[in-house]
């Protein structure tokens, strides 16, 4: 920025202060908002402003990568994940350690002041150097990065591939659901349905009672008894069947009768 100020470049200074304001605002919004979706959107604001600053500082490639990769791909993927988890999920504000939040805020402010004043005093009256060297020699941003990747930073660049493979492998390990029995074919399924003691028709719907009609309530057969056939297998395996008490049915009937008479 100082070089721009020295050069009397008012436009760049203006861009800096506008983007700086919005990116700091976005960063604060990111940490104070309680809902994860709001945090993600504030984060997108920070990233767009950073991208503008990168472009203004003669790093158009980095700015575009910031928008396309981070704001476009990563943040949107993050939002998708949030949508799956549930948009309404918000952070719990219960402190597990007493005084944790106050201590955290104080230390955070301390750290912020240290950085602002430390960097401020170190960088005031310093001149920016190396911009021409970085952009001029290879006649552009992309060429300059390509040059560095394939010369000075060849090994780090190659090793990054190991990191990506690890990440992919880790995602598979943590998220890939395998089946312990092979998936049944259509033929096998229909055989199983019609042969022996199968249930050829549709399975009964969940029981609908006055107080609950969730999937874990067994269906009521015409003769007044219940059947567990209406309950999904995993629930049965977990023992998640809600027992139906006939006294309850009678009780409801009694209450309705009382209201009418």
């Amino acid at each position: 920025m100082n070089a721009a100020v020295q050069a009397g470049n008012v436009g760049e200074t203006l861009v800096f202060w506008i983007c700086a304001f919005f990116s700091v605002l976005g960063a604060l919004g990111l940490i104070v908002s309680r809902k994860a979706v709001h945090s993600a959107l504030w984060m997108a604001l920070v990233m767009i402003n950073l991208a503008i600053l990168f472009v203004a500082n003669s790093a158009p490639f980095l700015g575009m990568a910031q928008i396309v990769v981070y704001t476009g791909a990563v943040m949107m993927l993050f939002l998708f994940v949030l949508m799956m988890v549930g948009v309404d999920s918000s952070d719990s504000l219960i402190e597990t350690i007493k005084g944790q939040r106050v201590a955290g805020i104080l230390l955070g402010i301390g750290m912020g002041l240290l950085l602002v004043f430390g960097l401020g005093s170190a960088l005031t009256n310093s001149t920016s150097v190396g911009l021409d060297a970085a952009n001029g020699v290879d006649k552009g941003n992309v060429q300059g990065i390509a040059h560095l990747i394939f010369t000075d930073y060849l090994i780090p660049f190659e090793v990054t591939s190991a990191l990506l493979i690890t990440a992919a492998l880790g995602a598979m390990v943590l998220a890939h659901r395998e089946r312990w029995i092979p998936r049944l074919t259509q033929m096998q399924l229909s055989r199983a349905r019609f042969a022996g003691s199968g249930h050829p028709g549709n399975l009964p719907n969940p029981g609908i009672y006055a107080r609950h009609n969730a999937v874990d309530t067994p269906a009521l057969l015409p003769d007044g008894s219940t059947t567990d056939l209406s309950i999904p297998g995993p629930l049965v395996a977990r023992g998640g069947i809600r027992p139906v008490d006939h006294a309850e049915v009678d009780e409801v009937a009694a209450i309705t009768d009382g209201g009418q008479s």
Binding site: L114, L115, G118, L119, S121, A122, L123, V129, G130, V137, D138, H147, L148, F150, T151, D152, Y153, L154, I155, P156, V159, T160, A162, L163, I165, T166, A167, L169, G170, M172, V173, L174, A175, H176, R177, E178, W180, P234, A237, R238
Partner: protein, 519 residues
């Protein structure tokens, strides 16, 4: 800095890479890739034997390769990799200890349900899926490529002469360990919590390292350690930018060595992770982290040592005192070993503060001696079991020495080594580190260190007293007879501790001949 070709056809000069010198890392990476392909294409029943052959073959080949390279001293790949004495010694130690940790990971005799890792890490703890997969004898062989990637990261971490490569290596080292920490077969929720905690705090520490790297680049105009050192000596005036950069980089690295106040992840991660992975974290990661910490501080910031040694003094004192005092109150042996490793990190930092060739050699000696003792201790922890799995609560260790004298004796030996009792490797290590610090004028620090090691001797001795001087009850855990894998690890840990304690000269010669960091 960039020699650009003026002639039209060649756009840039290709930097020469001495592939022979970096071949140990390349072998491990190549086998890791083969190992990933094995996961994809080899049948389920053949995977484990194939992976074991690959992993141990890779470690053997790399170790032989390192021996043939022992006299190599060079910086290659445009100054980003330094293959020097300390790097080669640490790489050798990492390979040996990783091979021992791999044996613990391969152990299938101690747990009646088989593997130490979850049948399927993706199945929910306590679900029908999990029970079915366990009953059908499934196990996860993906840990082997993860182990190899992690080891490759560690080996690069200790020889990275460039902050950018160091950062990438840090991530390659850490990411597989975060994953493996969450894959325990028993107490899976605890394990997953450990993994998440380690991952989140590790990501936070990486961010500090990255910020420090950016500030360093702002100061020096380069991320190469040698160029940073030149910039530091060229601009002798104190710069806030430089001090902030050193602080941030140190935070990132001190997190990995588990120094106070960046140790908060240690007890939970050590306790929750499968014991084999804990052994890996406590030994190889610690060696790698100290290697990188010393390289950054000595090579890049050696010129301003008077600015950062006071900070390290405070961290070292806090680490020794907090680690020792909190370890006294622990009732779980894995948590106690975790705080013990925090305290030990403090003692090692005393050697780092010496900022001399002697200090570097003493730290190398200490981390190697400590690594073998630690891996032996965790191997013993993994065989002491009761019906619920590993019996880590100390009350279940009462009278264990009377029930199983050999196990009790081995663990006692390792505890005495941690405490720094003569005739064990721990004593020689402490002696080397403290004398290096005194030679550099850090007498007060050594006095604090000696007091802290007296406190730490208390809780190490408490385990011995508990095992041998109390009567076994029905709550006392029993020692499971392990397969050859764990037996080798326990034997190696005990043997190295005794042999290095009695005849330390060969190892001392090795670390003294390693010389200094190249730049």
């Amino acid at each position: 800095m960039n020699p650009i070709m003026a002639s039209a056809p060649a756009l840039f000069t290709i930097r020469s890479v001495d592939y022979r010198a970096i071949s140990p890392v390349l072998i491990i990476l190549a086998v890791a890739l083969v190992s990933v392909f094995v996961e994809a294409f080899v049948g389920r029943s053949a995977r484990r034997p194939v992976q074991l052959v690959l992993v141990f073959g890779a470690f053997l080949a790399t170790f032989i390769d390192l021996i043939t390279l022992h006299a190599t001293r060079l910086v290659t790949a445009a100054g980003s990799v330094a293959v020097d004495g300390p790097a080669l010694v640490m790489q050798g130690a990492i390979i040996l200890l990783a091979a021992l940790a791999a044996m613990l990971m391969a152990e299938r005799m101690v747990d009646p349900s088989g593997d130490p890792f979850a049948a399927r890490a993706s199945s929910l703890p306590g679900s029908v899926d999990e029970a079915e997969f366990s009953a059908r004898g499934y196990f996860q062989t993906e840990v082997w490529p993860l182990l190899l990637f992690s080891v490759a990261g560690m080996m690069l971490f200790v020889s990275a002469n460039d902050l950018l490569l160091m950062f990438v290596a840090l991530e390659v080292m850490s990411l597989p360990i975060y994953l493996m920490a969450g894959m325990a077969r028993r107490r899976r929720l605890l394990s997953q919590e450990a993994s998440l905690k380690y991952f989140l705090l590790g990501a936070f520490a990486s961010a500090f390292f990255l910020y420090g790297m950016a500030l360093t680049f702002g100061f020096a105009g380069s991320v190469n350690l040698g160029s940073i050192a030149d910039a530091v000596s060229a601009k002798p005036s104190q710069s806030g930018l430089l001090l902030l950069a050193v602080a941030m980089l140190s935070i990132g690295l001190l997190f990995k060595v588990a120094a106070v106040p960046f140790h908060q992840w240690t007890p939970d991660a050590y306790q929750g992770a499968p014991t084999a992975v804990t052994a890996l974290m406590a030994t190889t990661v610690k060696i790698a982290a100290f290697g990188a910490l010393m390289r950054v501080l000595y090579v890049a910031f050696g010129g301003i040592r008077w600015d950062w040694t006071p900070m390290l003094w405070i961290v070292a004192i806090l680490t020794m005192v907090v680690g020792s005092v909190i370890a006294v109150t622990q009732s779980d042996i894995k948590r106690m070993l975790a705080y013990s490793s925090v305290a030990q990190a403090g003692f090692i930092l005393v050697g780092v503060i010496a900022v001399s060739g002697k200090g570097l050699a003493s730290v190398l000696f200490y981390v190697i001696a400590y690594g073998f003792a630690t891996i032996g201790a965790f191997a013993v922890v993994s065989v002491v079991r009761d019906a619920s799995g590993e019996a880590t609560h100390l009350s279940k260790w009462a009278g264990l020495g009377k029930k199983s004298p050999v196990t009790g004796a081995v663990l006692s030996l390792l505890m005495l080594s941690f405490a720094g009792i003569p005739l064990t490797s721990g004593f020689i290590g402490k002696f080397a580190v403290f004398s290096a610090a005194i030679a550099n004028g850090a007498t007060w620090l050594v006095i604090v260190a000696v007091i802290a090691s007296v406190v730490s001797a208390f809780f190490y001795a408490r385990v011995i007293v508990l095992m041998f001087f109390s009567e076994p009850t029905e709550a006392t855990a029993s020692v499971v007879v392990p397969s050859a894998f764990t037996t080798i690890v326990i034997a190696a840990g005990a043997t190295v501790t005794v042999v290095v304690g009695i005849a330390p000269q060969p190892l001392l010669d090795l670390v003294n001949n390693a010389g200094l960091f190249l730049r």
